[in-house]
Symmetry: C2
Subunit: 209 residues, 2 copies
């Protein structure tokens, strides 16, 4: 029999992470070599331990999960990272895979499915459940927002008026309206409130706190 799969677990919810570790401990051929509670720690601990597989939540304080994946994969292109999160917004899925994640799992899956996914990723395969792949496909077709449009969208979600947005971004209100027009048509909605809620649903922006 080969050696145990060495695992790094990154999740900011301590009790969840500890539970995950306890669950993995029940499997003979897997070992948790380190636990991270935020993104920076995940990067540092990966560097120290070079785990075979990294299980990473996307919502991490400080450096986000996506940023952590990017950093790790930049230094260690062969890193095998498995995203385990509750968010299934297409934007989150896209960014995580874009950053180099090898799998994207939701936390409603069962423990044995997780173990199977860990083995798959360890073996060099990718692991993306059909419903997740479906959402990814949907996002592929649609247009993507420009950086400036994202700036405006964030301020819309923050509840700012067009005038406020213009002041904050140092552009005229006319320009703000132009961007909002693009945003509405790209998101397929007809007003700013719909833009805000669908952006939150799709994981394009996050709600503060």
């Amino acid at each position: 029999m080969s050696e145990a799969i060495r695992i790094l677990v990154a999740d900011d919810h301590n009790v969840v992470r500890q539970g995950l570790v306890a669950l993995i401990k029940t499997v003979p051929d897997m070992t948790v070599v380190a636990e991270a509670a935020d993104g920076a720690q995940a990067v540092e601990l990966f560097r120290q331990h070079r785990p075979d597989v990294t299980i990473m939540d996307l919502r991490l304080p400080g450096m986000s999960g996506v940023d952590a994946i990017t950093h790790i994969r930049r230094d260690f292109p062969s890193a095998r990272i498995l995203v385990l999160t509750t968010f299934d917004g297409d934007e989150n899925i896209f960014r995580a895979l874009q950053a180099g994640a090898r799998g994207y799992l939701l936390k409603d899956m069962f423990g044995d499915e997780l173990m199977e996914a860990i083995r798959s990723v360890h073996a060099g395969k990718t692991r993306i459940p059909a419903p997740i792949a479906q959402r990814l496909a949907e996002r592929m077709g649609g247009p993507s927002l420009t950086n400036r449009e994202l700036d405006v969208l964030k301020l819309i979600v923050a509840g700012k008026s067009n005038k406020d947005i213009g002041a904050e971004l140092a552009i005229s209100e006319a320009t703000v309206k132009t961007h909002i027009n693009s945003i509405l048509s790209k998101l397929g909605v007809s007003d700013r409130t719909q833009a805000a809620t669908t952006a939150l649903q799709r994981g394009i922006v996050e709600l503060p706190q």
Copy 2:
């Protein structure tokens, strides 16, 4: 030594719930007697097993965690329920404690803190961390929305226009505007988009899916 504390765990995220169970298994004087993946199941399993302490997430499919708590406490007023969730919106905290929860913990707490909280609740005490109590106090001061205002607020979050809301609730657009006026002043915001985002932040309404 007294008998082990008998625990029911209700959480729809299977891998998280199983992890939690694995974590509790490492403690000698606690036993998980049942696991529920949704609210109705939690109620049914409580009835069957009468656990000493119930650990419940608030976001459950079908019957919500709050509804499950209400049902359980109606039939078993002495039930000791500990909410373990990620949401710290004041409205969620309020509703859970209103429904009869004895404690409200966030998932970023550590395993040993959870065990201590379980013992506290089992001993008949309540367990509400200071930051949580703080949020609860904030909500206490403010005015609360009426049922009708909640109806309107949900449709605002759904991205409906005043005209659509009127049609859906079978009231005139003028009435809708009256309700929205109340909502804006009660939430302390100045437009519908802010109303939507702050309602989501505070846990007054949920984002579909």
